[in-house]
C-alpha cells in the first residue's frame, strides 16, 4: 500500500499548500537576499521572517508533514530569539547559510511532495545545526527549555462555569508526548469533530495563540460540545492522530466560583471555534497583508476557459457564415448588425482571457537573484545582476518554460562569461562584473536576453573546438561569425577546460535549446571578444492561437503556419528545373530552391502534378528555405492548434511534418504542418 505523505482528507489541499508555501519561501528568499546584501536586518524583516516560518510551520503540520513543520519551527525559534533581543550577537554569514539551507530544504520538499516515490526527507541534521546555533545565540540560557509561556498550571481556569447547559458534554484529550504540534493537531481534529457535533468551547480557547501548543501538551485539550451521538464524537476524538487518550470528564460536584475574566473572550472563542469547524478546510490565511483584490486561480481552470473561448470563436464563425443563411434571401441587416456586435464582444473576451493568463517576467527573473548569490559565494566573482523590462508580461505557461533556460544561461554567463577578478583587473576592466537580464516584445514574440560584460567568445577557439569535436558540416572558411557562436548551443560542446559545479559538461545549452524549440522558441548567441556575450531567447507570444494559410491537395485540407511563409506565387514553366537525379527546383528571382510537392510528401493521391497549375508557397524557417506546392489556397485564418490524440502516437506524425490539427469554423478539421520538420527533410 502506498502511504500518502500527508494526512488523509488533505489531498485537495495539496495544491493550495504547495502554492502558498512556495510563494512564501520565494518571498523569504527575497528578504534574505536583500538583508544579506544590505548587511542589516530591520525589525520589519525579522517579523516577516518569523511570520513566514510560523505560517509554514502551521500549514505543514496541518498537512501532517512533521519534518517540514519541525524545520520551520526551528527557524521560527531562531527568529524568536532575534526578535526578542535585536542586539543579540551572532555569526551573520553562518546564520544566512543556515537560513538558505533551510529554505532550500523546504522548497525541495514541496517540489517532491506529490511524488510518492520520494520519501519524506529527514531534516534532523539541519534542525540540530539550527538548534545549536540558537543555543550559542542564547548563550548560557540554552539549557533552559522554557518556551514563552511559563504559566503551566495544573488545569484550566473556569473549566466548568456555573451556568453551563447540562447538555454540554466535556471531553479531555491528551496528546502523545511525541506529538510535535498538538495545537495544529487539535485544530484538524476539531474541524473533523465539527461535522458530527456542535463544538461549544475549547480549552485552550484560542488554538491559534502562541502558547496553545504548550498548554495542550501540559494540561491536555478540553472540548465542550453538544452531540446527538456522544459515542461517535468520543470515537472520533480517540482515533485522532497522535491522540494518547480521550475521555469524558464530569463536572465536579462543587466547582470553585468562576473568575470573571474569560467570559467575554470565551464568547468570541465559541464563535471562532464554530466558524472554524463550519468552514470547509480552508488553509490558514496569511494575514491581512495580502491585498483582497487578488485571487489565485488554478491554471487548469484558465486553460479550460481559454479552450472554451477558442471554441466560442470558432462556433461564432460557423454561425455567422453558415451556408443556410444564403437561402434565407433578402434582408439580413439586423442579423449582420448583431453578428458584428457579437464578433466585437468575442474578440474582446478573447483578449481579456489571454490577459488574465499574463504575468510579468519578473517572477522568473527574481529567481535568478538566488542563483547569482550562490555563485558569488562559491566563485567569488562578485557579479551584479541587473534587470531591464522585468514588467514585460507574458503568458503564464511561458514564464514556467523560461525558468530552466534562464537558470542555465545565467549560470553559464557567470561561470564562463565573467572573468576572475584578477584577470579583469589585469585587463583594465573597471566596470563591475554585470549580468543583465532584459525582456521586451518584438512583433509577435517575447524577447528575453541575458547579457554579460565578461570575456566574450573567441571565434578561433570555438572553431578549433568544433573541429576537434567533428561538428563542422562545411569548409571552415564558409562559417559566418554567427554560425560559429551558435556552436555554443550545440550538443556536446563545452569550451571550459575544467568542469565546475555549475557548467562545463556541454549538455546544458543544447537541452535548453531543445526545450525552447518544443514551444516554438529560439535561442541565439552573439558575442564580442573582450566585451561579453548575449544569449537571446525568442518565444512566440501566444502558444495556442496561430495564423495559418490553408491549402487544398487532392481534396485534403492542410494548413501552413503563416510565420513560415514568405510569399505565394504561380510558377512559370521556365522557372522549373529538374536535375539528372530527379531532384526538382524552382527558380525564384535568381534563387534556386528545392521544390517540395506536398502531395508526394504526404502520399496524397489526386493532387495537381503540373507545376504551372498548382500554387507555389515560398517557406522559410530557421534559415532553411524551400518552395511547397499545393493545388490551391483556400483561406487564411486563425486556428487553435490541438495536439494529435495519443492513439496516433505510434505513427510519428510530428516527424512526418504534422504539428497537430484544428477544428475550423465550419466544423471541418485541418491538419497543421510543422514546417521545421518538413524543411529539415529536404534542405
Amino acid at each position: 500500500m502506498i502511504v500518502p505523505k500527508f494526512e488523509s482528507g488533505m489531498e485537495n489541499m495539496v495544491d493550495m499548500f504547495v502554492f502558498e508555501s512556495g510563494d512564501l519561501l520565494e518571498k523569504l528568499d527575497e528578504i534574505l537576499m536583500r538583508t544579506e546584501q544590505e548587511d542589516s536586518i530591520g525589525s520589519d524583516d525579522i517579523n516577516e521572517i518569523f511570520r513566514t516560518m510560523h505560517t509554514i510551520k502551521g500549514s505543514a503540520a496541518m498537512m501532517g508533514l512533521q519534518n517540514m513543520s519541525a524545520l520551520a519551527h526551528a527557524v521560527e525559534d531562531l527568529f524568536y530569539i532575534i526578535r526578542e533581543d535585536p542586539n543579540v550577537s551572532y555569526d551573520k554569514p553562518a546564520l544566512y547559510e543556515l537560513l538558505f539551507a533551510a529554505s532550500d530544504s523546504l522548497k525541495n520538499e514541496i517540489d517532491n511532495i506529490q511524488d510518492e516515490d520520494v520519501p519524506l526527507s529527514d531534516f534532523s541534521e539541519l534542525e540540530g545545526r539550527i538548534h545549536s546555533f540558537a543555543s550559542v545565540m542564547k548563550g548560557g540560557d540554552a539549557a533552559k527549555t522554557g518556551g514563552p509561556s511559563q504559566n503551566g498550571g495544573e488545569a484550566y481556569e473556569n473549566l466548568f462555569p456555573e451556568d453551563e447547559n447540562e447538555n454540554v458534554l466535556t471531553y479531555k484529550v491528551i496528546y502523545a508526548d511525541t506529538c510535535a504540534m498538538p495545537d495544529m493537531r487539535a485544530m484538524v481534529l476539531l474541524r473533523a469533530l465539527g461535522k458530527v457535533c456542535e463544538i461549544v468551547k475549547t480549552f485552550p480557547a484560542d488554538l491559534d495563540a502562541d502558547g496553545a501548543g504548550d498548554d495542550i501538551s501540559q494540561k491536555g485539550l478540553y472540548v465542550k460540545l453538544i452531540a446527538d451521538e456522544p459515542d461517535k464524537a468520543l470515537e472520533l476524538l480517540k482515533t485522532g492522530i497522535n491522540v494518547a487518550s480521550a475521555e469524558q470528564v464530569k463536572k465536579p460536584e462543587k466547582s470553585a466560583p468562576a473568575p470573571v475574566k474569560p467570559a467575554v473572550e470565551a464568547d468570541e472563542q465559541v464563535k471562532k471555534a464554530k466558524e472554524q469547524s463550519a468552514k470547509p478546510a480552508a488553509p490558514k490565511k496569511q494575514g491581512e497583508k495580502h491585498e483582497q483584490s487578488m485571487i489565485s486561480v488554478k491554471l487548469d481552470k484558465l486553460d479550460r476557459l481559454l479552450d472554451l473561448v477558442a471554441e466560442i470563436v470558432i462556433t461564432e464563425g460557423s454561425v455567422i457564415s453558415s451556408p443556410d443563411l444564403k437561402n434565407v434571401g433578402e434582408n439580413l441587416d439586423r442579423f449582420n448588425k448583431s453578428s458584428r456586435e457579437l464578433k466585437k464582444l468575442t474578440d474582446e473576451l478573447q483578449d481579456v482571457v489571454m490577459s488574465i493568463r499574463m504575468v510579468p517576467v519578473s517572477t522568473a527573473f527574481q529567481k535568478m537573484n538566488r542563483v547569482i548569490r550562490d555563485m558569488n559565494q562559491k566563485l567569488k566573482k562578485n557579479v551584479t545582476l541587473v534587470f531591464e523590462g522585468q514588467e514585460t508580461e507574458v503568458d503564464k505557461s511561458i514564464v514556467d518554460i523560461l525558468n530552466d533556460p534562464l537558470m542555465h544561461i545565467v549560470r553559464n554567463a557567470v561561470d564562463h562569461g565573467i572573468e576572475d577578478p584578477q584577470i579583469r583587473a589585469e585587463q583594465g576592466k573597471t566596470e563591475p562584473p554585470t549580468v543583465t537580464l532584459s525582456a521586451g516584445y518584438d512583433s509577435n514574440e517575447v524577447v528575453i536576453s541575458c547579457r554579460d560584460n565578461g570575456a566574450g567568445m573567441d571565434t578561433a577557439k570555438l572553431m578549433a573546438k568544433a573541429k576537434k569535436n567533428g561538428m563542422l558540416t562545411k569548409p571552415e572558411s564558409e562559417y559566418t561569425e554567427k554560425e560559429i557562436y551558435n556552436f555554443v548551443v550545440a550538443a556536446g560542446f563545452s569550451t571550459n577546460e575544467k568542469i565546475t559545479e555549475y557548467s562545463g559538461r556541454g549538455v546544458g545549452m543544447d537541452v535548453v535549446k531543445k526545450n525552447l524549440e518544443k514551444v516554438g522558441g529560439k535561442l541565439s548567441v552573439d558575442s564580442k571578444l573582450g566585451e561579453g556575450s548575449v544569449f537571446t531567447i525568442k518565444i512566440p507570444l501566444s502558444l495556442s492561437i496561430v495564423d495559418v494559410m490553408s491549402v487544398e491537395i487532392g481534396g485534403e485540407n492542410l494548413s501552413v503556419p503563416m510565420a513560415a511563409i514568405k510569399e505565394a506565387f504561380s510558377c512559370k514553366e521556365e522557372n522549373y528545373i529538374c536535375d539528372a537525379d530527379g531532384n526538382e527546383f524552382i527558380m525564384l528571382r535568381d534563387k534556386c530552391m528545392p521544390l517540395i510537392r506536398l502531395a508526394k510528401h504526404f502520399e496524397i493521391d489526386g493532387g495537381e502534378t503540373d507545376v504551372t497549375k498548382g500554387i507555389m508557397i515560398h517557406c522559410r524557417q530557421d534559415g532553411k528555405q524551400a518552395v511547397l506546392m499545393a493545388d490551391r489556397i483556400t483561406t487564411d485564418q486563425q486556428v487553435v492548434v490541438k495536439p494529435f490524440s495519443p492513439v496516433l502516437d505510434p505513427y510519428r506524425l510530428k516527424e512526418s511534418g504534422m504539428a497537430g490539427c484544428s477544428v475550423l469554423g465550419d466544423g471541418s478539421i485541418t491538419i497543421i504542418l510543422d514546417m521545421k520538420e518538413i524543411l529539415d527533410k529536404y534542405v
Binding site: E556, N557, I604, F644, S645, V647, Y651
Partner: protein
C-alpha cells in the same frame, strides 16, 4: 495496466452491461462503461501517412477524435458501410477513439456464468460471452486502439 487487469477480473466475476455490435456477420462488444457515444458516421478527415485502419479524425463536439475502421483493423474483408453503420466512441483513460462498425446490435445484461476468459492474455478479445442465441467477443478497448502493450 494493472488497474485494467483488475477490471477484467471484475467483469468475469460480476458481469455487467455490454454494448454488442456486428462486424462481418460476427458479434463483438464493449463494456458499456467504456462507451461515451454512438454517432452516425460524419465527414472524416483523412490523416496522411497512417495505416489503413485509421480512417482519420472526426470533430466530436469540438474535440478531434481519431476513428478506426473495425473491419480493416481485424483484417475482415471490406464491407460497405450504410446508413445503419455508425461510430462507437470509446473513452480510454484520458482520451477518446471512435470505432466504425457495421451496426450496433444491443445493450445486454451479462451474468458472470456467461463469461469465459480468453486464453490469450493481453489480446484484443478479453472475454467470450455466450448468450442464448449467439457468442459475443468482448473487446479490450485499449488493446484494440493502441495495440498490445
Amino acid at each position: 495496466m494493472s488497474e485494467e487487469n483488475e477490471e477484467k477480473k471484475d467483469f468475469s466475476e460480476t458481469g455487467g452491461q455490454i454494448l454488442s455490435f456486428l462486424s462481418d456477420g460476427r458479434f463483438f462488444a464493449f463494456e458499456i462503461t467504456a462507451v461515451t457515444d454512438i454517432i452516425e458516421i460524419p465527414e472524416i478527415t483523412r490523416i496522411p501517412r497512417v495505416p489503413d485502419f485509421i480512417r482519420g479524425v472526426i470533430n466530436l463536439r469540438g474535440k478531434v477524435v481519431p476513428v478506426i475502421d473495425f473491419r480493416k483493423k481485424l483484417g475482415f474483408p471490406d464491407g460497405i458501410y450504410d446508413d445503419r453503420s455508425c461510430i462507437i466512441v470509446l473513452e480510454i483513460g484520458s482520451y477518446q477513439a471512435g470505432i466504425i462498425c457495421d451496426r450496433v446490435s444491443d445493450v445486454e445484461n451479462i451474468l458472470p456464468e456467461q463469461v469465459a476468459q480468453s486464453p490469450v492474455s493481453g489480446g484484443t478479445v478479453k472475454f467470450f460471452v455466450t448468450t442464448a442465441k449467439k457468442r459475443i467477443s468482448l473487446l479490450d478497448p485499449a488493446v484494440l486502439v493502441k495495440g498490445r502493450t
